[in-house]
Subunit: 340 residues, 6 copies
C-alpha cells in the first residue's frame, strides 16, 4: 500500500506537540510532505525539525504544489477551521480538523455537506474519545451493560483556569469561551453515549463575572479588560427519547478543585463515572461497584490520528465524523442562543 | 403572656417523633390541647403518651370543641394538606403544614390567599433551613460575602432509596415521587439563596425505570407493580436576573453514594458547598478555602417549630412562608409539566 | 402445620445467647419444651427466663418425659457432642450439634451413620456459612463466575487471643486448640467451595510456644501452666482433583492484627476475598475489582437455625450435614496426626 | 592487592544492567577483562560500551586466552547455569551464577562438589538478601530477638505478571515457571531464617490455568499456546525441628495486588513482616509494633557482587553459597515432584 | 484486716461521679461513712444515693461524730483545699485532696509539714498519672530506656475551652486559670519524669485576651465581664542538672485542635510522646518507632484512689505525695510571679 | 540606569548554587564582575562557569582592582562574616552577608554602625522571609487580621540531621550549632511578627548528648569526637510588651519527624501555622479554619537577592536589615549566655 501524503495547516504548539509527532509515528501509513503557516518562519522551523520537504505560508500555494496531499490536518485558530477545511476538501483531501468544528452551525453544515459531496473523510479531533476509560464505557454500552442510558452529567470545570496566553478570551477568534473550548469535549463524549441525537429542548445560561473582575489565576494571568467570552456556561439538554444531559463548563468558578473533567452516566441497569472509571450496578442481586485499577494510559492523540487514518483507508473507526461535528456545532449554537 | 393552644392533625410517625416533642419542648409558649387522626386509636395513644387533653377522629369535631386551638400542625398525607389547612385557617388558626405545601399550584395559592385574608400565619415545615450550615450560608449571603449568587447545583440523590413503607410510591396520595418528596427540600434551600424568585424558564425530565423494574432496596423492599411516581427528576431553572439552578433528585439511581443531600453555590466573590460547609474564596489575593470544623448539630425540628411560633407571635422568623410555599408549589408543578 | 418440639442440651452462654433466642424467633415453626443441663440451676434459670416448660439435669430423664422433643440442640462441651447426639438420635430426634462435630473421626462417622439409619437430620452449627458474604461466594460459585476453584487460603488468626475463660486450653474437654476451635470454621467454609471433597494429601504442624510461655492477653489472662493445646496450627491440604488449601489458625501468634478471619479463593476465571467481599476478575478484557458496599449484616445464628429447621421439614438447606461433619472431623484428625 | 580479573558469560539485559555496572563500581578490587556471548555482536557491544578488553562467542576460547579470569559471572539462561559454571570451575575460577542454581538437584550438587574440590567460591546471585530490611531481619535473628522462628509465610505473587518477553514460559530453557523464577527468591530468604535446613516433608501443587487460557497481561502479552510452565505454585515445607514454611508464588493469579513480595516470620518472642519492615513483639509487658521509617534503599546488586568478591577474598560474607544453592535446588526439585 | 472508714468533704459533681464510686469499688478495703457539704441537701442526696450512713453540713460536726473517719477525700473548691485538709490532718485522718494542692506555696508547705508531723498520708488527686501510657513511660524511665531525660514539652491546650459553668474564671476561688486548672496536670507528669526536682530558673507569661473579649465557646458560653484569670500561660523551667521544660496551657487560644493534652519527652537514648504512646529510638543501629496499639483504657480515678489507699496501708504507691504537691505549688506560684 | 557591579566573596556551594545564579537572573540590574576565594582554583572555576571577568584569591586585591564593585555578596564561613563585610563597607560597597550576621553581638553592632556611617546597605540573607507563606503571614499582620500577636512557637527541629560535611560541628568556625545554624532562621521569622523587638527576659539551655554519643545519621555520618557545638537548644524569650517566644532548634533529637520547620503564631483575633499555611479564626461567629491550597512555590533566594538589590536602589524592601541583624545577633549571644 502506498503511503498517504499528509499536510499540516497551522504552525502552532498543537501542530508541533501533537499532530506532527502522531503522523510521524504512523510512518508505515503516512508521509508528511508539507507544513503551512501564515508565519513562514514557523512553517520552516517545523519542516526542519521534523524533516518535512515543503514549507508554505499560503494554503493556496501548498495545494498548487506538484506534490499533492491526500490528507490535511487543520490545526489553525477556531475562526479558520471553516475556510481552510473547505479549501482542503475542494482540493480533494481528507481533513482532520481541530475542535470545535467551526464558529457556527451553518459553517459546520457546509463543511459536512462538502465532504459528502467530495466523498472525502472530514473528522474532528476530539481525542478524549480515545482514553481507555471512554473506550470501555462505549464497550459497556454496546454490550448492553447500561441498559438504556437516560441521564448524563457532563462537567469540564476549572476553579481559576482562564488561560493567560493565546486567544482564549478573544470572541472574534474563538467564537466563545468555556463552552466552546472545554465544555465541547465532554459534550462530545456525552452525545456519544446517546447515539449522537439532536436534543429537542435546550436551556442555558452563560456568565463572565470572574473573567471581567480579574483575580488570582492558576493558568497564568489574564487581562480582565480583554475578557470577551463566557467564563462559565451551564446548559440542560433534553432529547426526543426523554434522555437528558446536564452540561457544566467553566474557565473560572469559585469551587474547590482546580479542574474536574468527568462524565456521570445513568442507565437503567448500571451507572458509571468516567474517571476513575467505576460502574455501579447489581451483581447476583446485590449492589456492586466495579473498578478497573489497571487501565493503561495511552497516547490519545496518536490513537485519534490512527482512527482518522483508518477512516481515510475506509476502515471502521470511532473518529468524530463530519455529521457528528455538525450536530455538535448546532447544539453549541443553540446553547449560546438560549443563554443570550 | 398566655400560652398558645396547639392542635395536631395527623397521628403518624412524624407527629409522634417530631412535632409533638417540639411543641412540648416549647412549653413556656405553647400548650398542646388536642390531637386528631382519622384513626381514633392513634389519636388516643398519642394523647395518652404525651398527656394531651383531647383526642378526636374528626377535625370538624375538634374545631367545634369548647377549647379552641390557636395554632394547628397539619402533618397529614400530602393530599390532605390543602383541605385541613383551609379548614384550620377558616377556624382562625395559625397553621404549620408539612411539606410539600400541596398537590398543585392552585391549592397552594388558595391556601396563601386565605391565610392573608384571615391574617393568620401559614408556614411550611422545611426544617432543613435550620441546619447550622444553612443558617451560616444565609448569614454569608446577607453579609455580601458571596457577591452575587448566579448558579446553584441542588442535589437530593439516593442510590436505592425507594421507601418500602408508607405511601411514597402512590401518586394519588403523594402527588409525585423523588421531586415532591426529596427534591423539594433542596429546591427550597436553593431558592432561599436567590430571593425566592420565580424562574422564567424551566425544562425537566422524570424517569421511573428502576422503580418499575424492581431490585435491591436500601430502604426496605418496594413493590414495582405499585410504583406510580418518578424515581428520578432532573430540572433546570433559569431566572429573570440570569441566575440558574440545576436540580437533581432521585429515589433510585445507579450511582455510588447511598445518599447525597447538598447544595453547591456559586457567587461572584465566593462559592460554597453546604455539607461539610466550606467557602471557596480569595483572601489577601490568594485562593483560600474556609472550613468550619466546630459547627454544632441542633434539633432542626425544634428550631423550625420555634420559628413558626415566633411568627405566630409576630416576630421575625426564617420559616417558609405561605407565599414562598405557593411559589415553590408552582415551580414543582411547572417542572412536572415540563417533564411530561 | 403443627409446631416442632425442641429441647436444648447444655446450659451455657451459647444456649442462652444464641440457640434459645433463635428458636424463640422461629415460634411459628418451633416450640421449645425443655432445657437440660448437668447443673439443674442453670437449666431452671434458662427455663424461667425463656418461659420453657421443663428443666432437667439428666438427658435420659428428658427423653423419658411425656413431652417428647422432635429436635434437639446439643450445645454442650466438645467431648459431649458424641454421647448426647447419639442419645438424641436414638430417641428419634433431629439434632443440631455445636461445632466441632466430635472429638475424633470415629465418633463423627458413627453419628452420621446413626442419623442415616434413623432417618433423622443431624447437622452442625457452622453458622458462618450464613454470612451474606459467604452466601454470595456460593452463589458466584454456582453461577460459574469463578470457573474452577483451585486454591484457597483459609485463615483464622489471632495475635493474642487465648481465651482466659472456659475450657479452651483443656485438651481432654476440647480435643485441641486453635484448629478445632477456630480453624474448623474457615476449613468448613473452604471445603464448601470445593464440593466438600476429602483431601488425599495432608501435612501440618502445631505449636504451643506462646501458650506455654504466657504473656499479654487480649481475651483475658490465661494460665500457661494449664495450657495443653496448640496455640497455632498450619496445614496444607491437597485434593485428588489437584485443588489445594493452605489453612492457618492461631490463638496466639506474633503478628500485627488482633484477629483475621478470611478466605482467599482463587479460580480460573475470578478470585475473591471473603471480607470485605471482593471479586478480582476480567470485565470487557480489562482487570476489574468488584466490591459490594451495601451488604446487610444478618443474624447468622438465626439463619443457621432456620436452615436446620428447614432441613427437619425436608426442605433444601445449606446447613452443614452429618456427612460433611464426618468428612471435616476426619480431616481434623488427619491434620493432628500429621502434626505429631 | 592486585585486582581480580573478571569475565562475564551471557550478553543479555542482566549483564548489561546489573552485573557489569556492579563490577565496574568495584574497580578498586576487580578488573573486567572479558565478556562472552553466543551472539558475538552482543559481546562486542558490551565490551565497547564498558571498555572491556576482550569479547568472545565461545567460553572455551575465553578460558584459553592469555588473560585468564579469576572470577566469572554466569548470567546465561537457566539451562546453561550448569555447563558454564562447571567449565569455569574447571578453569580455576570463582563463579557467581545467576539464580536458580541449576535445572535440577543433581546438577547443583555436582556444581557444589566441584567448587569444593577446586577450592573455589561458587555463589548464587540471590541479591534480595541484601535489602536493608532482610539485613535487619538477620541481625534480629542473630540477636535472639525472635526467640525460635517456627513458621514463615513466603509469598511472591503477581496478579497478571507473566512476562511477555524472554523465555520465561519455555520449560526446556527455564526448568519451570513461577516457582523457579519468582518463588525461589523468597524461599531463599525464608530458608535463611531457618538455618538453611532441608525439610523432611514437602507437599505442593502447581497450576497453569491462566497461563494456558490467556487474558490481560500487566507485563506485556504472552502467548498461551507456548505456555509450558506453571503459572502458580503452592507448597508446604515441614522441617525436622518442627518449623514450617508456606510458600506461594505466581505469575498469574486472580488476586487484588499487582505484585506482592513478602515474608511473614513468626517466632516465639517476636514476629515480623519484611516489607515494610515491622516487628510485632512485647515491650515492658505490652504488645508493641516496631517500625523503621528511615531505612535507606541500597543498590542490592552492588551489595551482592561485593559480598561475592569478599568471599573470593576469603572474607566473611552473606552470599548464597554453593551448598545453600544445592539445598535450595533439591527443595525445588522435590516441590515439583510433589506437584506432579 | 478491718475496713478503713472514709469521709467525703465536698458535695459536687466530682464527689458524685469520681470519688464516691471509686471508694465504693474498693469495698473490700474501705467503708464510706460520711459525706459533708456546706449545702446539707447535697450531702443528704449523696448519702441516700450511695447508702452512706451520715450526712453533715459542717466538717467540725463530722469530726466530732462518734464514728471517726480514718481517711478523708477533700474535693471542695480550690480555696478550701487548705483549711479542710488541715482540719482533717488535725483530726488524725489520711487525706486525698483534689488538685491543685492549694492557693499558694505557703499553704501547701504547711499541709505537707502537718501531714509529716501527724504521720498521716496526704496525697493529691493527679489521676492522669494512672493512664496506661504514663505508667509505661515511667516503666521505660526506670528501665533506663530513655537514658537521661533532658527536655520535655508539656502541653494542655484548648482552642475555646473556657468552662461556661462553675467557678473556673473566678480568681478568688480558683487562684488562677489555665495554669492552675489544666497546666498543673501536665506539669505534674513532666516533673515525674525528672525526679520532681525544683527548677532554679523560671520565666513565664500569662494572657487573658480572648477570655476578656468573649466569642464562640466550645464548653458552654462564658461571661467575659467576669473573666478574672489567665486564658493562657506559657512558662519555661530550667533545672539545676540542666534539664528543661516548656509548659504551655490554655483555656482559649487561636489554634486548630479543640484540645491537646500531651507530653514530648526527649532523652539521650530515646524520646517519646505520651498520646498515642510512641517511642523514638534506635534498634540494631537503625532509627525505630515503637507503638503500642493494644493499650487498654483503665478507670484512672479508681486506680488513683487505689494508690492512695495503698499508701494509707503503708504500701508503695505512685500517688502524688504531700512533698511533691508542695514542690508543684511552689513552682506554680513562681510561674505566676514571673508572669506578673 | 547603569548596572550595579557585583562581587562575590566565598567560593563554596552556596555561591555556586544560590547567589551567583540569583545575580545572573537579575542581569537587567546587576553585572557580576568578580569572584574571590582563598582557593584561587575555586574562584577561577566559578568565573569560568558563569563568565565572570575577574577571579581573585585576596579581597584586598579585588577592592584595589580598577573595576570596583558596587555591591558585595559575603558568603564565607561564619567567622569571616565580620572581617569581609567590614572591608567591603570600608570600600564603599553595599553588602549582602550570609546568615548568621556574625560570631557575636559586638561584631554585628560594629557592622551595622559602619554601614550607617558609610551610608551603605548591609543586609543578611534570611531568604525564608520570601516564602509565599511568610509573605502572607506578614500581609495578614499588616491588615490587622491577627489583632495583637502575643505568643509564637518557633521550631527548627531535626531528628538526626547533624551534617556529615562542612564545618557545622566546629565551634571556632561556626560560633555554635543548632541555634546559630537552624534556629536563627525561625527566630528571624518570629521576630518579624513582633516588630523585631529586643526581649527583656531570656532563659535557655543547650545540649550535646547525641552529637557526642554518635549514632545513625540522616544527613551523612558525623564524627562524635569532633562534635563541639550544641545539638539542641531551647529558649524562652519574653518581651517588654508581654509577648513571648518559645524557640526550639535541634540538629539531633529523639523525635518522630525527620525535620520540622514551622511557626505557630497566636494573636488576639486569629492564630496561624506557617506550613501548611492555615489561619484559625472566627467567621460570622463560628470558629473557622482557612487554608490556602494553591500557593505557588517561588525561588526564595532570587526573591531575597531582588529585595537586596531593591534596597541598594533605595526602594522599600523586606530584606533583613543591618539593625535587625544586630538585634538578632545580640539575642543569640544572650541565649548562649543564658545556657552556659
Amino acid at each position: 500500500m502506498s503511503l498517504l501524503k499528509a499536510a499540516i495547516i497551522g504552525g502552532g504548539h498543537i501542530a508541533d506537540q501533537n499532530h506532527i509527532p502522531a503522523l510521524k509515528a504512523l510512518k508505515d501509513q503516512v508521509e508528511v510532505i508539507a507544513v503551512c503557516s501564515r508565519d513562514i518562519n514557523k512553517a520552516r522551523a517545523l519542516a526542519e525539525k521534523y524533516n518535512i520537504p515543503f514549507a508554505f505560508d499560503s494554503a493556496e500555494e501548498m495545494f498548487n504544489n506538484e506534490q499533492k496531499p491526500d490528507l490535511v490536518i487543520n490545526c489553525t485558530a477556531n475562526n479558520l477551521h471553516y475556510p481552510y477545511t473547505m479549501q482542503a476538501l475542494e482540493n480533494g483531501c481528507h481533513v482532520l480538523c481541530e475542535k470545535p468544528p467551526a464558529m457556527n452551525a451553518k459553517e459546520a453544515k457546509e463543511m459536512a455537506d462538502l465532504a459528502q459531496e467530495k466523498g472525502k473523510v472530514l473528522a474532528y479531533n476530539f481525542q478524549r474519545r480515545q482514553s481507555p476509560e471512554y473506550i470501555l464505557l462505549q464497550k459497556f454500552l454496546q454490550q448492553g451493560r447500561f441498559g438504556e442510558v437516560y441521564h448524563i452529567k457532563a462537567n469540564f470545570l476549572r476553579r481559576r483556569g482562564i488561560p493567560g496566553w493565546g486567544n482564549f478570551t478573544n470572541k472574534a477568534i474563538q467564537g466563545g469561551g468555556a463552552l466552546i473550548d472545554l465544555g465541547v469535549h465532554v459534550l462530545d463524549l456525552a452525545l456519544g453515549m446517546l447515539d449522537y441525537q439532536m436534543p429537542d429542548r435546550i436551556v442555558a445560561n452563560v456568565y463572565d463575572f470572574i473573567g471581567k473582575a480579574g483575580g488570582k489565576g492558576l493558568k497564568g494571568d489574564w487581562d480582565p479588560e480583554k475578557f470577551e467570552v463566557e467564563d462559565a456556561c451551564f446548559a440542560y439538554l433534553s432529547f426526543p427519547d426523554n434522555a437528558s444531559i446536564m452540561l457544566s463548563s467553566s474557565f473560572a468558578l469559585n469551587r474547590q478543585e482546580e479542574e474536574t473533567v468527568n462524565l456521570e452516566v445513568f442507565g437503567t441497569k448500571s451507572g458509571a463515572i468516567l474517571r476513575p472509571l467505576s460502574i455501579f450496578t447489581e451483581v447476583a442481586g446485590e449492589l456492586a461497584d466495579v473498578s478497573f485499577p489497571y487501565l493503561t494510559e495511552t497516547d490519545i492523540q496518536l490513537q485519534n490520528t490512527t482512527a482518522f487514518v483508518d477512516a481515510c483507508n475506509g476502515k471502521a473507526s470511532n473518529i468524530c465524523s463530519a455529521e457528528e461535528g455538525a450536530i455538535l456545532q448546532e447544539i453549541i449554537e443553540r446553547i449560546y442562543q438560549s443563554a443570550k
